[in-house]
């Protein structure tokens, strides 16, 4: 049942004050459950080399102390049980040294995907559903379920860190726990905050960021409700650390100064992902500066695109629209794979879409509720960012963003409503294959003179062999040009100028040194066409002259004109003098 959030205003009917939680060492995070083995313990499969007799094989098996369990005669593969207490990997190493053995391997356990035992998992359509308009979470969990070392800041209405499904993943500030430091009224870690165990409440100016609204806890659950614990729901991360930072009050609103405090606290205390399921308030240079600071601390700032159903390219929605390159703006999609009717969008200002309609998650007091909004889409993306950081721990903030944006499931509803043209996909974001994203799209003007500059960003878990731009004019065959590296993960090439009215299409191919490849979506623009026209994506023209060169050119021209005028006047004067003499 949905719990209403309200303020009681009749003094005689006020609800009991929320019980403050005693911050004590007994509330330590439960140690994460050990990862399930991906092979049958105590068993291996052995294949002997051709020519090995049955007696010879039996002799080897008994020499290693193995117990034969099963023989696959067609394959000549033996399934053997190891002596009690023998490690599978140690046994495999021993087998490799035997000249008669062709190969030995674990008896691997195969599953369709890694599903958690959380009883309400089936209701989490955003993580998995039959229509596959989900983020492919179970497939991602095959590779990564998250790490407690990855710190995600929830900048919101607080978090119910006592919730049965959040408690295990609530961050405990290591500098403020143990030996009674939780409540000793001392800033033990000298970070400027006293007894900040779970985070900080910047709205109430105290150390208890308990959620008094429900929104922050819901967001936290999508990112990191404890997985496979047999309770409630599961987050995108089974394990991670949630830092609770409260600046939105019980009625869900707050101010810029408190938001800035949250961002600075998160960045200074090691958060790699900042989830911002809030918006409004217009442009604030100070807030932008705070986000810029978080960028210098290698944090990804994930923000809700907004719920007004409008185009953020035309009407910015902050903080999602700040032009800092660690900001990811997230639109919401529904379970039919469409852009949610309320969701803001933006061909160049919104990065991708994620599930945001009827999302079930944790709410205060061990309850669970379904909410809708880009607030709900944002933590899906934050959660995947945390998974990526757990899987590729050396990643920079921008590399994390390239992985998220480059791995979207492309879909028509998002082609002209998001920059990268698709829905979030966690499994693809963790892929070892190269990714290409943030390819230059529509801009304000086009010009037949050209050239048209195309930028793209690419990443690979190994090294990138080549990044190529292919373009075609009209229905002609494509021309490929090598894109030059202009910065880490950033590449650039130019398409030469084309006659007005030409239809130009282009895409970017990336190949790594292992032969893996990736291709961007195909983009189109019409030379001299109207910006924003359906089906075409006119791009900006790079200036062929720098500003200084243009100024100099104008000055030289003015000087030449002045000289010409001067010369003409002298000539006229000379002629008139000659005429007078005559």
């Amino acid at each position: 049942m949905m719990r209403w959030v309200g303020k009681r205003v009749d003094s005689g009917l006020r609800a009991a004050a929320m019980t403050l939680v005693v911050l004590c060492s007994s509330s330590q995070a439960q140690p994460p459950a050990p990862a399930a083995p991906s092979f049958v313990p105590g068993e291996i499969l052995i294949k002997f080399k051709p020519g090995t007799t049955t007696e010879g094989a039996s002799s080897v098996i008994s020499t290693f102390g193995l117990q034969p369990v099963q023989l696959f005669p067609e394959l000549d593969v033996h399934r053997c049980r190891l002596p009690e207490g023998t490690d599978v990997e140690a046994a495999l190493r021993a087998c490799k040294g035997d000249a008669t053995i062709a190969y030995a391997e674990p008896n691997y356990i195969y599953t369709a995907s890694r599903l958690p035992n959380d009883p309400r998992f089936a209701e989490l359509w955003g993580l998995q559903n039959d229509d596959d308009f989900d983020i492919d979470a179970p497939e991602a969990w095959e590779a990564q379920t998250g790490l407690p070392e990855v710190l995600v800041a929830i900048i919101d209405t607080g978090v119910d860190y006592n919730h049965e499904d959040l408690r295990a993943n609530a961050w405990r500030n290591p500098g403020e726990i143990g030996n009674g430091r939780e409540t000793n009224r001392t800033d033990d870690d000298s970070n400027g905050f006293v007894d900040d165990v779970f985070g900080w409440d910047f709205a109430g100016k105290d150390n208890d960021p308990m959620d008094d609204n429900g929104h922050g806890s819901h967001v936290a659950g999508t990112i990191a409700a404890a997985g496979n614990n047999g309770v409630g729901v599961v987050g995108v991360n089974w394990r991670t650390s949630i830092m609770a930072l409260k600046f939105l009050s019980a009625n869900g609103s707050g101010n810029a100064a408190d938001a800035i405090d949250c961002i600075l606290y998160a960045a200074r205390n090691g958060a790699r992902v900042l989830n911002n399921s809030w918006g409004g308030g217009g442009f604030s240079q100070a807030l932008r500066d705070a986000i810029e600071f978080s960028r210098t601390r290698n944090a990804v700032f994930v923000a809700a695109a907004g719920n007004e159903g409008r185009d953020n390219d035309r009407s910015p929605s902050y903080p999602a629209s700040y032009d800092v390159d660690n900001v990811m703006s997230i639109a919401a999609c529904d379970r039919e794979g469409q852009l949610a009717t309320f969701s803001n969008f933006g061909r160049t200002s919104v990065d991708l879409a994620a599930p945001g309609v009827d999302i079930l998650s944790t709410t205060p007091g061990n309850t669970y509720s379904a909410f809708s909004g880009t607030s709900m889409a944002t933590p899906h993306a934050s959660g995947v960012a945390a998974l990526v950081i757990a899987h590729f721990p050396q990643s920079t903030y921008r590399q994390v963003m390239i992985r998220l944006a480059g791995s979207v499931d492309p879909a028509a509803p998002f082609e002209d409503t998001t920059w990268n043209g698709g829905r979030l996909n966690a499994a693809a974001a963790l892929s070892a294959a190269p990714q290409v994203a943030f390819v230059t799209r529509a801009e304000a003007s086009v010009n037949p003179e050209g050239p048209y500059r195309i930028d793209a960003e690419a990443i690979d878990d190994g090294s990138i062999q080549s990044v190529r731009l292919s373009y075609a004019v009209g229905g002609g065959s494509p021309t490929a040009v090598e894109m030059q590296s202009v910065a880490e993960n950033a590449y650039r090439a130019e398409i030469p100028g084309q006659p007005a009215g030409s239809q130009v299409s282009y895409f970017v191919d990336v190949a790594d040194d292992a032969g893996n490849t990736a291709r961007s979506r195909t983009y189109r623009f019409q030379v001299g066409g109207n910006a924003g026209a359906p089906g075409c994506s006119p791009i900006s023209l790079p200036s062929t002259m720098s500003v200084q060169a243009r100024v100099l050119s104008v000055l030289v021209n003015v000087l030449l004109i002045l000289l010409a005028v001067q010369g003409a006047r002298k000539l006229i004067a000379k002629r008139s003098n000659s005429a007078t003499k005559l």
């Binding site: 949905m2 217009g282 880009t374």
Partner: protein, 204 residues
């Protein structure tokens, strides 16, 4: 109860009659004039809505599910007995059922349509009863996020519940027809109301 004062019309005709008495009119004429004045006053009073005392029980915004924001107007329910009120409250809130003296009060629950974010709200400013038509008129103030306010990006449905002091017996039709108006500055603009009570009577 944080009651609102009831203001009746001042019997201005009394003062007019006094003035006439001092100006040399004959006593019978004065009596007739006074009686006419009294009747006129009573007639006027019966056409002027009576302001009812009310108190807020709870107000806030519940998260709205689905993806269809933008509906306008207000949906409402009324409760005239403890059992129905108790069932309704317990279906939505974990706290104890707020007491209501149903012998002299009823409960009015309002909910606005879906809004795109937090920061929206609805507050009851006035409740008036027009005896002539048997209608209630509820004056609302609709709250929106300020230009510099940062709010949660979740669909919400703002609501408000009030106790209104008026015995059930005061209404010919139960639940009574209700008209809603939004206070905008000094202006009161009509808002569409949709009754969710079963067997509700619509405003005429």
């Amino acid at each position: 109860m944080d009651s609102r004062s009831q203001s009746g019309a001042r019997p201005r005709l009394y003062r007019a009659a006094g003035a006439l008495a001092g100006s040399g009119f004959s006593r019978p004429l004065l009596c007739v004039a006074t009686t006419c004045g009294l009747l006129a006053t009573i007639a006027c009073r019966s056409y002027e809505p009576e302001r009812l005392a009310f108190a807020s029980i709870v107000e806030g915004a519940r998260p709205a599910s689905g993806d269809a924001p933008g509906s306008t107007g207000v949906a409402y329910r009324t409760f005239f007995d403890a059992r129905a009120w108790s069932e309704f409250w317990q279906g939505s809130f974990a706290e104890a059922v707020p007491p209501v003296r149903f012998e002299e009060e009823f409960v009015l629950c309002l909910e606005l349509g879906t809004k795109p974010s937090g920061g929206y709200g609805v507050e009851v400013r006035d409740v008036e009863f027009e005896a002539r038509t048997g209608e209630l008129q509820v004056i609302l103030e609709l709250l929106e996020p300020g230009a510099d306010e940062m709010v949660i990006q979740i669909l919400t449905a703002p609501y408000s519940m009030v106790r209104v002091r008026a015995p059930r017996a005061a209404f010919d039709r139960r639940p009574p027809p209700i008209r809603f108006r939004r206070q905008v500055g000094s202006e009161r603009r009509p808002i569409e109301g949709r009754c969710l009570d079963t067997g509700a009577s619509e405003p005429r």
